[in-house]
Symmetry: C2
Subunit: 429 residues, 2 copies
């Protein structure tokens, strides 16, 4: 095989042992007639030393940055090397030579703008910071699932090719499906509701699409949506479930990604549970008190959320009980006041990262909700008809993975998070 | 909240305790002036008894099958009830009344054909067998990830909207992307290779699409692909990794889904590891020996694999070293004979459930491989250019989740597995 050890396993305790490592040339230094190769693999950086009399010495000149090599040799303890040991090279194989100069500096010393980084993305993803983002995301989705498995949820996969848009057809991408028109799902909303009507507790992590016209740091045409739906439940229980999920994610990222957070020079927000909850009406009052002119029914946008964040002095908080008509048709109104709904957004500072609600489960209520939004119930018959056959009360939420990742990495733009982001001008690489 | 207990928690040890359960009416029997309600929730069936003098007695006539109810009452031990206890109803709430008759029998007594089942799918998914399929799948994907986490793999999400088809454009669905043409990814192949070129070990579980014209029990237009890619590796190591994955999946389904396998009346195949490996050439010899006329380069189709399965007496086996030109352009040829490739299929009886290989990692080899297949390297420049910047040798595989599920459930058609399957004639529900 290609190696006996990862570079992070090379330490003084292996003194004298013959090992093989493989990785990318991070840099080559020439010192006192010896060549010092710094080699990167997925576990970090390790050092190999090439003596002047080595048969591979001449090959050292070929070792451009990011070339792939395999090194065989004996481990020698040396305090000056990473982890206190280096490999004295006996055999050096140049597996894949990289062109130079590189179009992007992988060591991170020379900064590049986002457009360049996204164009030269493979090299960008090899930077320590992007390695950290990829690992933190993997740990976060693992922690998300862990909490749900414990609570008896099943992971599901719902269709992405659909005949009707979830919320009425805006911003849908059209697919040519065997000569007919189909659409890419904006969210698994209606299908996850149906699945909850069969097996009660479900979640899904899958792509979703919106034809976003605008270019913001928080929107993409293709994004990963983390969805939860539970039967015999309401928005209060769902908020508790979400708190358990967020708490587990923060704990796992904190404990398993210490080096990655250091690489990003970022500290996770200190969050106290239960999270602060304020109603939409209370938020309006606070904002009105700060001289911001918002009326009932108006959306609370990013600039207003920034003010709210300052006033509340909380990094992570719920805004609940939104006006019914400002939410999608499947949102359940409150019993005591139908102008308000059993709904919530989870806000990180000034950014909505989760949106959830209790759902309507009576057919006639759903039909009226559709009409009230100018939508035609007959287009939703594929969904509505199931409400004739015993749909339980249910509730759930959808979380944007890359928005969550802004909270977990301190990055400012979801295009930095997603390895190959898709927007109006980007379909390649 | 809606309940204090799941029905599976109601047992004689709760004697005298007041509980609330919620679920679907499975059936109602009238015995000696009492009504016995069999109520289903996600944990199984439980019994509630309505006495003649109960204020809710008259409501019992409204309890059509699949209606959603909530029941409050005291637990009484009774050997004749499921789990030895029943609930003596004090309050009964009819939350959501189901129309009758139902278009599909949820108890499973009256069998329906697949078309009917897929049309009335929500009711079909409530059947015990389909509940079992959903749970087994959730346990299987969890076990798949578990093995990979342990080996240091990261979970990734690659783009599904792409500019060029992976294997040259056949069977792609077209998407109208901001007035331009884009495609739905047939597989994450090229992107997972790039990610392996950055962080070495990656996996992804995500939808993929093929415009399948034919109607078979093993093909869908939209399917879930489970993909693994690892750097500094080859097909032998990948086959070992896959064996570890399959072994863990079988173990976890066996131990966590005993009741579900019973509901499906199915026993998992007894599989010995390491799995049997035969080369393509050996397979051809065996088949030729049985009078089947196949020449080098011919595909080994389902009918031939049935014969092979009988001859080998193995439920699960690898066929390795396929002709290079019968595999996609990214497949690496063998050093000692470039007509053969470092490739494998994993076969369950007569069905390919996984396909994998060592991958090409030299640009000129990739360009030649594209040309040899009549493809134009310049269409793949977005992929090829990264091979100038240090791509390591790598290898991986793709597994079809619903094909794997045929092995785990004994079902015969992937359309039964997928809750809402998509094919040439199905886009709804």
């Amino acid at each position: 095989m290609y190696r006996t050890h990862f570079v992070s396993e090379i330490g003084p305790e292996l003194e004298g042992k013959e090992v093989e490592i493989a990785g990318w040339i991070f840099n080559v230094r020439d010192l006192g007639g010896k060549k010092f190769l710094l080699i990167r693999d997925k576990t970090g950086l390790g050092q190999a030393v090439l003596a002047k009399d080595s048969p591979s010495f001449s090959l050292a000149n070929e070792l451009s940055q990011e070339s792939v090599v395999k090194v065989k040799g004996k481990v020698k303890a040396d305090k000056r090397a990473p982890r206190g040991a280096e490999i004295h090279v006996e055999e050096l194989e140049l597996i894949s030579k990289a062109k130079s100069p590189l179009p992007l500096d992988v060591t991170g010393k020379v900064k590049a703008d986002l457009d360049t980084r996204l164009r030269e993305r493979l090299l960008d993803l090899r930077r320590e910071e992007m390695n950290a983002v990829i690992k933190i995301q993997s740990v976060a989705v693992k922690a998300f699932r862990e909490t749900l498995y414990k609570k008896g949820f099943y992971e599901i996969f719902t269709p992405k090719l659909i005949a009707t848009g979830t919320e009425g057809g805006a911003q849908l991408f059209t697919v040519i499906y065997f000569g007919k028109e189909a659409f890419l799902a904006q969210s698994p909303q209606l299908y996850k509701e149906l699945m909850a009507g069969a097996v009660e507790r479900v979640f899904e992590i899958a792509p979703a699409w919106r034809a976003e016209d605008s270019d913001t740091p928080y929107h993409l045409s293709e994004f990963v949506s983390m969805d939860v739906e539970m039967a015999f439940s309401d928005y209060n229980e769902v908020m508790h479930t979400l708190e358990d999920i967020i708490s587990n994610i923060l704990e796992k990222v904190r404990s398993e990604c210490e080096n990655e957070l250091k690489a990003l020079n970022y500290s996770l927000p200190e969050v106290r549970f239960p999270l602060k909850r304020i109603t939409y009406s209370e938020a309006l009052e606070i904002l009105n008190g700060k001289g911001i002119d918002l009326k009932f029914g108006d959306d609370i946008g990013t600039p207003e959320l920034r003010v709210l964040n300052e006033e509340l002095k909380e990094d992570l908080y719920f805004v609940t009980d939104w006006p019914t008509l400002s939410r999608p048709f499947y949102t359940r109104a409150k019993n005591e006041n139908s102008d308000l709904s059993e709904s919530f957004d989870l806000i990180f500072r000034f950014l909505e990262i989760v949106s959830g609600s209790s759902r309507n489960y009576r057919r006639e209520v759903l039909e009226n909700a559709l009409k009230a939004r100018g939508l035609n119930p007959s287009s939703f018959e594929f969904f509505l008809r199931w409400f004739d056959y015993g749909m339980p009360p249910h509730a759930g939420f959808g979380m944007g993975l890359s928005r969550l990742m802004l909270m977990l990495t301190g990055l400012q733009n979801v295009k930095e998070i997603v390895p190959f982001p898709r927007d109006k001008k980007r379909l390649v690489p």
